[in-house]
Amino acid sequence: MARSLFKGQLKLWLGGGFVLAVVLMAIFADWIAPYDPYRQNLLMRLKPPAWMEGGSTRHLLGTDNYGRDLLSRLIYGARISLLVGVSSMVLSCTIGLVAGIFAGYKGGRCEQVIMRLADAHMAFPDILLAIVMVAAMGGGAFNLILVLGISRWMIYARVIFGLTRSIKQRPFVEAAASYGAKDVYITFRHILPQLVPVLTVLAALQVAQMILQETALSFLGLGVPPPAATWGNILAEGRDRLFVAPWIANAAGLAIILLVLSVNLFGNGLRERFDPRMRQAA
């Protein structure tokens, strides 16, 4: 039993399945959510979930500090949390990919400059950079994506750089080069396809990290400003009322754990599928 649980296939299906469910939920939030997530009702504030004493089936997961339906906020919250997680991953992935290929393929001074930049960036905690930048530019989904994207590009750049350099030395690339193929052609035809597996795995794991990062910034009051529903916001708002209304923080916390867990499972599953020997942690 335990053995099969950790087979790659199951991870892939379980993780992927849940992620897909959350994505669908986010897309069709308008049809699924029972209430308007922004609609306040002061008379209904801090009502517990249906299964607790004092709860009712009108609000399955209870209500928050402003009497907003928690279930609806979670459903809508998936939108921004996913959007921020995926977009910032795409951004940092793109920057890292370009920088990594460039450095690895060109070598020489290019490599020196890009890789030293990446090294320098590694000595600067990403959350520190995020705090400085968000505080400076202000909150909002767009800025958050930008900040998170920029703060993690070097992770890709380093991996891609190493891979590109080793691929470049393989016979088929050298052969193509000796036939006079253009650099751009070689990059797209020979190098990029080789990178896809690693990139996919890394991307999946990074989405998880980005979602956690969004939560951390929301906790510090630097996330997407209220009243926007994001899982980080709900968790951060719930923490002040943890002792009187623990269901708010717990529902959001559980949602985050489940999503991040699924993304991680999915990523690990992918990794084992692409390369059974590659079992290292992120």
Binding site: R39, L42, L43, Y66, P225, P227, D240, F243, V244
Partner: protein, 497 residues
């Protein structure tokens, strides 16, 4: 290798173990929400005043309800229209053993009226021109004009030791303050704790315990937890929603008082849409203040009666009533005014500055959404807030509280040209304010303030919301402590069981 690491680590941990080792001595621990940047005097914040007041005292004392009493000065009288004579308490000593005299008072006053010093609380005694020593225990304070709020204003100005400034310099005074107060400075770690020891020779009677520790615990839930767990005996700024938890714990109780702070939503009347008085009036009808008061503030504090001043403030106008909640009328007024429902109206607020500030802002925005206004909440951090406020660019709508400290003068000044903070300028209002400042007849002053409040109610430069409560929670093991309307901690009479 490994054997060498262990002692190093042990040393690392034991470093911290030495700090809290009071044995038989009694220690009172207080948890504050906000700590000031430093112990520099004159900072215009209640957090700073609260810490400074433990070591340093003013000529005029002030109690928890805001009533003034003799402090370092025993009595005072007017010599002429612009000179007031203060007779000082004799036999008071600074913490280093030197005598407190009129020299110290004159030095303090003359130092801070110099604009180069940049004393943040100077506005409290803005009309003061200087001080002169009459004899060892008598001092004259002179003002540029008649200044009816001098004595009350002086209750915020702590007296500092002349000899210490001259010996050690300004930086040393900030680093290690010396005062005449009930507690003596021990250490101050910004963002963490302020430790003090009791002043055995305090003129007002030595505190009945040896040590006072004021800790900063910014997270409200953690603050409450520390009280229930018995780590602290008094906590400030209790969130309204946690009151029930404290009361049901059986270990502590709530102590609260209404402050003199009026929480208001100020409009930027210079720009559309709020340059239109009709829009401002409509917004006032759109907010269900009694509902917010009942549900968010749990009926603590008070609902402002359509004016800046709380009921207990000198100058409060009992004739004015808040506009009723009438969303239909609000909608109709907005349509009439040609209000564009598509424009976003951001509501700026700080977080944790006032009781339930973000909650109130969110609910207000929610109620505006109900009548179709696209209102959002913009939570602004400290540094940005000061910058916006200095530039007078707070955005269309911002939430702020003004403390009157019991006298209309102190809060109504912020809507005059003189206060430099108002975007709403009204000649009639300014004229009334000047008149009120230049008479010493209390009856006349009240009349002027009443007129000013009526004017503001008509013009709506701001939406008047609530008189804020100041909520403390106190362990059952403590007696002799009371909630303070001015948020200054007064613990020298407290006793630990």
């Amino acid at each position: 290798m490994r054997t060498r690491i262990v002692p190093v680590l042990a040393a690392l941990f034991s470093l911290s173990a030495t700090t809290l080792a009071f044995s038989a001595e009694k220690t009172l621990s207080v948890a504050a929400a906000v700590f000031p940047r430093s112990l520099q005097t004159g900072q215009s914040s209640f957090a700073a005043l609260s810490l400074i007041a433990q070591t340093n005292e003013a000529l005029v004392g002030r109690d928890n309800a805001g009533n003034i009493s003799p402090g370092l000065a025993l009595k005072w009288e007017a010599v002429n229209e612009t000179t007031t004579r203060f007779h000082l308490r004799q036999g008071v000593k600074w913490h280093d053993g030197k005598d407190f005299t009129a020299e110290d008072v004159a030095f303090t006053i003359n130092r801070i009226v110099d604009p180069k010093v940049g004393y943040g609380l100077l506005a409290r005694i803005g009309q003061v021109s200087g001080a002169k020593v009459v004899d060892k225990y008598t001092v004259d304070i002179t003002t540029k004009t008649i200044f009816p709020t001098l004595v009350r204003g002086l209750s915020d100005i702590v007296i500092e030791p002349k000899h210490y400034y001259e010996q050690a310099g300004e930086q040393a005074v900030i680093q290690r303050p010396i005062g005449t107060g009930p507690f003596i400075y021990k250490t101050y770690v910004p963002g963490d704790r302020y430790e003090l020891t009791a002043n055995k020779d305090y003129w007002g009677g030595a505190p009945k315990y040896e040590n006072l520790v004021i800790r900063q615990i910014p997270e409200a839930a953690t603050r409450v937890a520390s009280l229930i767990a018995g780590e602290t005996q008094i906590i400030e700024e209790v969130p309204v929603d946690l009151i029930e938890q404290i009361e049901s714990s059986g270990r502590a109780k709530i102590d609260e008082i209404t402050t003199s702070a009026g929480l208001i939503l100020t409009y930027d009347v210079r720009k559309p849409p709020f340059n239109n008085p009709k829009v401002r009036e409509a917004f006032d009808y759109a907010i269900n203040k009694p509902a917010i008061f009942k549900e968010i503030l749990k009926s603590r504090g008070e609902i402002l009666d359509g004016q800046l001043l709380t009921k207990s403030t000198l100058g409060y106008n009992p004739e004015i009533k808040a506009r009723p909640y009438d969303p239909e009328k609000a909608k109709a007024l907005l349509k009439e005014a040609g209000f564009n429902f598509k424009t976003t109206v951001p509501l700026a607020t700080q977080s944790g500055k006032y009781t339930s500030d973000v909650d109130i802002a969110n609910v207000v925005a929610g109620m505006l959404n109900e009548i179709g206004v696209n209102a959002t909440v913009n939570v602004v951090e400290g540094g940005v807030w000061s910058q916006m406020s200095t530039a007078l660019e707070m955005g269309p709508l911002h939430m702020i509280a003004w403390y009157s400290l019991g006298d209309a003068d102190f809060s109504s000044v912020w809507f005059t040209k003189l206060g430099k903070r108002s975007v709403w300028i009204n000649e009639e209002y300014d004229a009334l304010f000047t008149k009120a400042r230049s008479t010493s007849s209390e009856e006349e002053r009240v009349k002027y303030y009443n007129e000013m409040m009526a004017l503001m109610h008509k013009e709506n430069p701001a939406m008047f919301l609530f008189g804020l409560p100041s909520i403390y929670a106190v362990s059952n093991s403590i007696t002799g402590f009371g909630a303070a309307s001015d948020k200054v901690l007064r613990v020298n009479k407290a006793e630990l069981k």
